[in-house]
C-alpha cells in the first residue's frame, strides 16, 4: 500500500511539473500584451515600451519560467502585472466563493442523484422508472446557462426568495447571506451534474443487481431490494467515488460559466477577466491551482479506492 501511495505521489508531482510547463507555454502563444492594454489606444510606441520595461516583460522566456516556478516552489505564486497584488492572496479571496460553490454543487448533485438513480434502477421497466430515466437524460443535456437563467427568473425575479446575482461584499461575515447567494448557482450546477451522475448510479445499480452475490443473497430468502441494499450498494458506492473524482473537473468548468452568469467574484470569473487582460502571472497561478486541485482529488480518490476495496489491495 505504501509503495503504491509513493508511486502515485511521484506521478502527481510529475503531473504538476508537466502542467506548469504546459500552462506557461500555451499562454505565451496568445497574441496581445498587457503593456499595450495599460497604455491603450492613443498611446505612442514609446509609451508602450516604457510600460513594458517597467513591468519586466522584456526578459527571455526561460528566465521568466524559472523565476515563476522557483517562486511557486517557495510557495510564492507571484504578483499581478496589473495591480501588483499577490496572486496567492487574490486566489485565496476568490476561493472563498468558488470552493463553497463547488462543494455545495457536489452535495446537491449527490443528494438527489444517488437515491433517484437507485430507485430508477429498481423501477426499471415500469412507467415511473422510465420517466425518471428519461428526465435525467433530458436534464443532463440542458445547457448550464439556460438552467441558471430559468432558476433566476423563477426564484429571484418572480418569487423574490433568493438574490439574482452577486455575493455579499463582506464575504462570509454573514454566513446566511453568503449561503443564500450561492444557492441558485449551486443548484444550477448541481442539477445538471447530478442528472449525469444519476444515469451513472442507475447503470451501476443495474449491473450490481445482475451480480452473482446479489442473486445468491436473494436466493437465501432476502428480497431483491434488501439484497441489493446490503450487498450491492457498497460496490455501487465504490464506482460512484471514482466518477465523482472526474466530476470535480466538470464542476470547475461549470463554475467558470456560472460565476459569469451570477456575477459571483470567484476564481472562474477572475480567470476569464485575467485572460482578457493578459495578466499572465495571475492566469498561470490560477490555472496551476485549479489543475493541482483536480490532480490532488484524483490522487485522493485512487488512494481511497485502494483502502476501501479489498480486492485491489490484494492485487497489489
Amino acid at each position: 500500500m505504501i509503495r503504491y501511495a509513493l508511486t502515485r505521489l511521484t506521478l502527481l508531482v510529475l503531473g504538476l511539473v508537466v502542467a506548469s510547463a504546459l500552462i506557461f507555454l500555451t499562454l505565451r502563444v496568445l497574441p496581445g500584451d498587457v503593456a499595450l492594454l495599460v497604455a491603450g489606444v492613443n498611446s505612442s510606441p514609446d509609451q508602450v515600451a516604457a510600460i513594458r520595461e517597467s513591468m519586466g516583460l522584456n526578459r527571455s522566456l526561460p528566465e521568466q519560467y524559472l523565476e515563476w516556478i522557483g517562486g511557486v516552489l517557495r510557495g510564492d505564486l507571484g504578483t499581478s502585472l496589473l495591480t501588483g497584488s499577490s496572486v496567492a492572496d487574490e486566489i485565496a479571496q476568490k476561493a472563498e466563493v468558488t470552493f463553497p460553490l463547488g462543494i455545495l454543487s457536489l452535495l446537491i448533485a449527490i443528494a438527489f442523484s444517488v437515491p433517484l438513480g437507485v430507485l430508477s434502477a429498481l423501477r426499471r421497466g415500469r412507467a415511473d422508472g422510465t420517466a425518471m430515466s428519461v428526465t435525467a437524460q433530458t436534464v443532463a443535456a440542458v445547457p448550464v446557462v439556460w438552467a441558471g437563467m430559468m432558476l433566476v427568473v423563477v426564484f429571484a425575479v418572480w418569487l423574490g426568495w433568493l438574490p439574482a446575482q452577486g455575493f455579499p461584499r463582506d464575504g462570509w461575515a454573514d454566513p446566511g447571506a453568503a449561503l443564500r447567494a450561492l444557492i441558485l448557482p449551486a443548484l444550477t450546477i448541481g442539477v445538471v451534474e447530478g442528472a449525469m451522475l444519476m444515469r451513472f448510479v442507475r447503470s451501476a445499480t443495474l449491473q450490481a443487481m445482475g451480480q452473482d452475490y446479489v442473486r445468491a443473497a436473494a436466493a437465501k430468502g432476502l428480497t431483491r431490494t434488501t439484497a441489493l441494499i446490503r450487498h450491492g450498494l457498497p460496490n455501487v458506492g465504490l464506482s460512484v467515488i471514482t466518477v465523482l473524482g472526474l466530476q470535480v473537473a466538470g464542476i470547475i468548468v461549470g463554475a467558470v460559466v456560472i460565476e459569469q452568469l451570477f456575477s459571483l467574484p470567484g476564481i472562474g470569473r477572475m480567470l476569464v477577466a485575467d485572460v482578457g487582460a493578459r495578466d499572465l502571472p495571475k492566469v498561470q497561478g490560477e490555472l496551476l491551482v485549479l489543475t493541482g486541485f483536480v490532480l490532488i482529488v484524483g490522487f485522493v480518490v485512487d488512494l481511497a479506492h485502494r483502502l476501501i476495496d479489498p480486492r485491489q489491495r490484494e492485487a497489489a
Binding site: 497574441p31 496581445g32 497604455a39 498611446s43 505612442s44 514609446d46 446575482q165 452577486g166 456575477s263
Partner: protein, 503 residues
C-alpha cells in the same frame, strides 16, 4: 397594487416624454425623486467595464476616467455635462489674448484624502511630471506647456505656442492634481481631493466610494456609492428586477419595456460622444486604398438600421459628434444608396470583393450582423473575426493587420486621430493635418471650431472611415434616485449631485 399601477403609468408617461426628447437630440433629465433625500443612503450603480487597476497616471481606459475623475481626483478646471469648462481646484482662471499665458488662482483650504493640504507646489509638480513622464497617460497633451510656475496661490502656465485644446485637456487626465512625491500605491489605492473617498475594491465584483467628510466644496449627498461590475446585460436586468441595483448604466435600450415594467425604473437616453467607427485600412496595396471602394461601402450601409437595432443613439456621417465643437450634419456626403455603391464598385473594378471585419468580442453581435447583410447586398463578402481586446490591440492597433475594424470610440474631442497618419485609421491627408494644426494653434474658440468643421468635412468626403452611429448614454434610473448624470456617462460620471430618497 394600486400604487404599482400608478407608478407604471407615470413611468410610461415619463418614458414617452424621454423618447421624444431623445429624438430631438436633446439630453433628457433624470427622473426626479419625490421623497426627501436620505443623507445616509447607499446607491448601487451597475457599470459594465471594470478597470484592471486604479492607476490614473499610467493605465488607459474609459473605465478609470468614468469613476475616478471628478469623484476622486480633480484638476484646476473641470467640465460640465454640457461640456462647458468650469473652475474646480482653481477658483478662477484667465487666458492672455495671445493665448500663451494661462493664469489660475488655486483654492485655499483644499486637502487630500490623507489629510495633507493641497499646495501650489503639488500643482506644479503634478503638471510637470505629467508632461515629462513618458509612461504617464496623456503626457503629450501638455507638450506645448513651456513652464509652470507658482507665486503664492497663483499658478501660471506659459506656452511655447497657442493651444486651443489645452484648457479642455486640463479638465481630463492630463490636468489631474496629485500629491507631490506621494507614496500611495496607485494600483489599488488613491489620494485625491474629490468629494468621494475610495472605501474598498473587491476585484471582479465591485468598487465602493464613501463621502469625503473633509471635502472643500459641497459635500456629497449620499453616504456611499457602490459600483457593481456586471458585464452581462441579462444579469444586470435581473439585478434591477430583483431590486439589487438602483441605477443601470450601459443598458440595452431594447430591454426598456422589461425594466420599466417593474414600476421602479425609468430609462433615460442622454447624448454621448460615443462614435461607432468602422475603420478602413487604406494603406497601399489594400482594395480600400481606392476612395471609390470606401465610398461604396459607406453608401451600402443603412445607418438608420443601427439606430433602430440599438433602439438608441443617432446617425453620424463624420468624425465629430454633435456634443463636440466642429460638428456639422454630413449626411449628404454618404447617403444610403446600394445602387450607387454597386456602380462605384464596378468603376473601381472591385466586384466580388472579399473583406474581413476584425471586431473586439465584447460588442453586440448586431453590429457585424447588419454589416454582413448590408455589404452582401452590394456584392461584398464580409468575414467576421471576433477577437479579444488584447488581440485587437496587437493585430489592428499596433500592426495594422486588418481590412475593416469596428471600435466604439468614446473619447470627446478626439479629432486628432484623423490628423495622425500613424494612427491605426491609416488616414493620411496633409490638408486635414494642416487644418487641425491651425485649429490647435488658434486663439479663438469659434475660429478653432470652424477649422475643425472644415477638416471634418474633408475626412468624411475622403471616406476615411465610416461612422455607423453616434451612441447614446442609456441609463435606467430608479425613481428614488435623483441627480444621476445622463450625458456621456461612459466617459465621465460626476456623482456630486446624486441623491437617494427614503420614500
Amino acid at each position: 397594487m394600486l400604487r404599482r399601477t400608478a407608478l407604471a403609468a407615470t413611468a410610461l408617461v415619463a418614458a414617452t416624454a424621454l423618447a421624444l426628447t431623445a429624438c430631438s437630440g436633446e439630453s433628457a433629465p433624470a427622473p426626479t425623486a419625490t421623497g426627501a433625500p436620505d443623507p445616509d443612503a447607499s446607491v448601487a450603480i451597475r457599470l459594465v467595464l471594470e478597470p484592471g487597476n486604479l492607476d490614473i497616471r499610467r493605465t488607459a481606459g474609459a473605465a478609470l476616467d468614468q469613476i475616478l475623475v471628478d469623484n476622486i481626483y480633480q484638476g484646476l478646471v473641470s467640465r460640465t455635462p454640457e461640456q462647458d469648462i468650469v473652475p474646480a481646484l482653481a477658483s478662477d482662471f484667465s487666458v492672455s489674448p495671445d493665448g500663451l499665458t494661462y493664469t489660475f488662482t488655486l483654492r485655499e483650504g483644499v486637502t487630500f484624502h490623507d489629510g495633507s493640504e493641497l499646495t501650489p507646489a503639488d500643482v506644479v509638480w503634478s503638471l510637470e511630471t505629467r508632461r515629462d513622464s513618458d509612461d504617464w497617460r496623456d503626457a503629450a497633451r501638455l507638450a506645448n506647456v513651456d513652464s509652470i510656475d507658482a507665486d503664492g496661490q497663483t499658478i501660471t502656465l506659459t506656452l511655447s505656442e497657442p493651444d486651443s485644446t489645452l484648457l479642455w485637456n486640463l479638465t481630463g487626465r492630463a490636468g489631474i492634481i496629485l500629491k507631490r512625491d506621494d507614496d500611495v500605491d496607485y494600483n489599488t489605492a488613491e489620494n485625491g481631493t474629490g468629494p468621494f473617498v475610495l472605501d474598498s475594491w473587491r476585484q471582479g465584483d465591485s468598487i465602493t466610494f464613501v463621502r469625503n467628510e473633509e471635502y472643500w466644496g459641497d459635500a456629497a449627498q449620499v453616504a456611499e456609492v457602490v459600483f457593481d461590475y456586471i458585464p452581462d446585460n441579462q444579469a444586470a436586468l435581473n439585478a434591477a428586477l430583483a431590486g439589487e441595483v438602483d441605477v443601470v448604466t450601459g443598458f440595452d435600450a431594447n430591454l426598456q419595456e422589461q425594466i420599466e415594467a417593474t414600476g421602479d425604473f425609468a430609462l433615460v437616453l442622454g447624448e454621448s460622444t460615443d462614435k461607432g467607427v468602422l475603420a478602413f485600412n487604406q494603406s497601399e496595396g489594400s482594395p480600400l486604398a481606392d476612395q471609390r471602394v470606401r465610398q461604396a461601402i459607406r453608401q451600402a450601409i443603412d445607418h438608420q438600421g443601427f439606430v433602430e437595432a440599438l433602439a438608441s443613439g443617432q446617425t453620424l456621417y463624420g468624425p465629430i459628434p454633435s456634443l463636440d465643437p466642429g460638428y456639422e450634419d454630413l449626411s449628404e456626403v454618404a447617403p444610403y444608396d446600394p445602387d450607387a455603391a454597386r456602380t462605384l464598385l464596378a468603376e473601381a473594378g472591385a466586384e466580388d470583393l472579399e473583406l474581413t471585419l476584425t471586431i473586439p468580442n465584447f460588442y453586440a453581435t448586431t453590429i457585424p450582423t447588419i454589416l454582413v447583410s448590408d455589404l452582401n447586398e452590394v456584392g461584398i463578402t464580409l468575414t467576421v473575426e471576433s477577437v479579444d481586446f488584447s488581440t485587437w490591440l496587437t493585430d489592428v492597433y499596433t500592426n495594422r493587420d486588418y481590412d475593416l475594424s469596428f471600435v466604439l470610440h468614446t473619447e470627446a474631442r478626439d479629432f486628432e486621430n484623423w490628423a495622425n497618419p500613424d494612427y491605426y485609421f491609416t488616414y493620411d491627408n496633409a490638408e486635414v493635418q494642416d487644418l487641425y494644426a491651425q485649429a490647435v494653434a488658434s486663439t479663438s474658440e469659434s475660429q478653432a471650431s470652424t477649422l475643425l468643421e472644415r477638416a471634418a468635412r474633408i475626412v468624411s468626403e475622403d471616406a476615411a472611415a465610416d461612422w455607423l452611429f453616434n451612441g447614446a448614454s442609456v441609463v435606467a434610473v430608479g425613481f428614488d434616485v435623483a441627480g444621476m448624470p445622463s450625458v456621456n456617462v461612459n466617459e465621465r460620471l460626476n456623482l456630486a449631485e446624486l441623491t437617494k430618497s427614503d420614500g
